[in-house]
Symmetry: C2
Subunit: 360 residues, 2 copies
DNA sequence: ATTAGCACTCTCATTAAACGAGTGCTAACA
DNA sequence: TGTTAGCACTCGTTTAATGAGAGTGCTAAT
């Protein structure tokens, strides 16, 4: 039950027109604007068939046709062609990203900004998931007689720290020893692994002071590990959607905004998506069934994987958006590539990127 | 030109009614609901006078009266009485805050959540400004042969770090020396002070390796200081406003949401406000002229000052909201008080300041 | 000074009519 | 047999008119 060449042309025309104007498109305007060499009547017949096959819908009898999710899916899979970015957009992306190349999180945020500025849609970008991150070392640093800093450093330069206040004073020797001790225990293990394993039992009955210190530190250690696992999520251009005709109803707009108020939930959803450029359209989403969602992944040192994405109505310029995202993720991955060829990299909460000092 | 007792009663009644129902209130309903012992006609006369004095406005000839900003101001300054929180709200606040007492940023976020949940308005909370924070020490830690971590620790346990990648290898001696060196230079000085001072010149011509290392590190040091100055801003309940009748127009809603999209700008605005509970109503704000804004401050160790706030329409339960905020900030300040003389109970619980690495 | 009474104003909801875009069908045509 | 012109029909949208309702502002009586 394949579509004829002409049907594809008509479908494409309808999609193009509808994406542009957000209004049901009629046979007459198709015939006029797109030079298909057939009359409106013929187009009407084809449209009727396309509707029967589920590619078009009809808001009401005397309205034009609107593409269905199925039509967009066909378009994305088979019809659309890769777009070249305008020189202006390319320049903008290059400039903005290179300006902050050495500050990892800022670069990610800039990526989100760029995405929403260029697409005029809502966008997000998240730092890489660190499940696979392995611990490099653990360090305790004294602040004052009761306060110390717990610091966990990952192999890729990820750092997370917590300031903790002890209820009894500690000695420099004790914290040095505990630092070493913990580093030996956990070095090379992934965060996930450490978090899941039973930690309590390995409280060796070493020196008395050390054991008490360890008891104080352990809960914070676990929480700090959890912190380290959290990805940062940057959202931009949420208010762009107010300019779209599909969100002039306050209810739709509210629903949309509420999605993003639930940051943790949203983060989990996005992390669960496949790598690469992924498009989900309307009903294909389990929430946001009237939206389309496009995500793409960038790499850090070829290892860690972070996501960027765009959310908008199903009526969306899929060709442009996917092309932009592809360009952007390539650029990001390039930025985050290790300068040399050495194995490990640099990512996460701290700043990262290529040689920091090198580019002033 | 003082208001008579009766005029005050009527004004209060109008405010109460309008805040409740969001509809212009007429003389008849005032006479009915509030037992003032006078007829609608009398009330009408008084209303007319109140309008002339600028306390009421008239959407159109045949509509009831609406309180003006001036009326709300009078109400806030003279009329309203402190409200007692419900036991339920108190319990909620106590529970939620104590659950995370040892994680500073999370507590702040919880405060924002509580505020929006209880008031059903948009709220925010921000970590204390650290302009006055003084540097305790600076530390460089090795990750691998090209990567190291720069860490700045404030006297109050504030920590910020940056991962930096060097373009030439460093030696352990060099980074130890530089750490000490920098600590000596900057210890005890405020972040602001250090940032403003000319730093470059004090690159001593010490050992060759050290000088080169320092050259590499300095730019990151400054950026890290800037990071450290940034306050974290948590916003909650932005979508609550969609439920209010004043924001059923998409344009109003958009304007509202756009305010909060500009986080940096918003943060600056809020930091500039006075300490204590501050209410600004409608026109008293230079932006958001149709909103009221209530901010309050909490203390950390009696020193640092952070802000929380609520944003909503001028039609707002000022008495309740200010009471809630007072309760909440007292509770927060209490939470963040130094343990002082009593070591607190639980092992490991006792983190007073905690700071995520990464920018803002 | 207060109040009852009443005309007047303005908004909002309802209804009806005219409009127009676009379809679906039929019959003619190449 | 596929294509096209023609035309009746449908249905949402716009415009205008109407009436109800709420509330004021004024006047005159108390």
């Amino acid at each position: 039950m394949d579509l004829s060449e002409r049907q594809l042309q008509i479908l494409q025309a309808i999609i193009t027109d509808y994406v542009e104007n957000a209004e049901p498109v009629g046979s007459r305007s198709i015939a006029k604007k797109y030079d298909l060499g057939v009359s409106p009547a013929t187009i009407r017949n084809e449209m009727s068939d396309l509707e029967e096959m589920g590619y078009l819908t009809h808001p009401h009898t005397s309205a034009g046709r609107v593409p269905s999710d199925k039509a967009y899916r066909l378009y994305v899979n088979n019809l659309m062609k890769k777009k070249n970015l305008s020189a202006k957009d390319k320049r903008m992306i290059n400039n903005r990203l290179s300006a902050s190349r050495d500050e990892f999180d800022r670069t990610i945020r800039h990526a989100a900004e760029l995405l929403s500025e260029i697409t005029h849609l809502a966008s997000f970008a998240m730092t890489p998931a660190t499940n696979e991150e392995t611990i490099s070392f653990i360090r305790l640093l004294p602040v004052d007689e009761r306060t110390l800093i717990l610091m966990i450093v990952g192999e890729s330069g990820n750092v997370t720290n917590t300031t903790l206040r002890m209820n009894v004073p500690y000695t420099q020797e004790a914290i040095d020893l505990l630092s070493k001790n913990m580093t030996v225990s956990y070095k090379g293990r992934t965060l996930d692994d450490v978090l899941k394993s039973e930690i309590i039992h390995d409280v060796g009955s070493d020196i008395e002071a050390l054991s008490s210190l360890r008891t104080n530190v352990m809960p914070s250690f676990l929480r700090t590990l959890e912190d380290m696992l959290n990805v940062n999520l940057y959202m931009e251009g949420m208010t762009n959607i107010f300019n779209l005709p599909e969100y002039t109803s306050i209810d739709r707009a509210r629903d949309f905004m509420e999605l993003f108020a639930r940051k943790d939930w949203f983060t989990q959803k996005m992390l669960a998506r496949d790598n690469g450029v992924v498009v989900t359209i309307g009903d294909e989403n389990d929430t946001m069934k009237d939206c389309s969602l496009i995500t793409a992944t960038y790499h850090v040192d070829g290892k860690l994987v972070g996501k960027i994405g765009v959310i908008g109505p199903t009526r969306m310029k899929y060709d442009e958006v996917t092309s932009i995202m592809e360009y952007l993720t390539n650029n990001l991955s390039e930025s985050f590539r290790l300068p040399g060829e050495s194995g490990d990299g640099n990512a996460g909460d701290g700043n990262a990127g290529k040689d920091d000092a090198g580019d002033k």
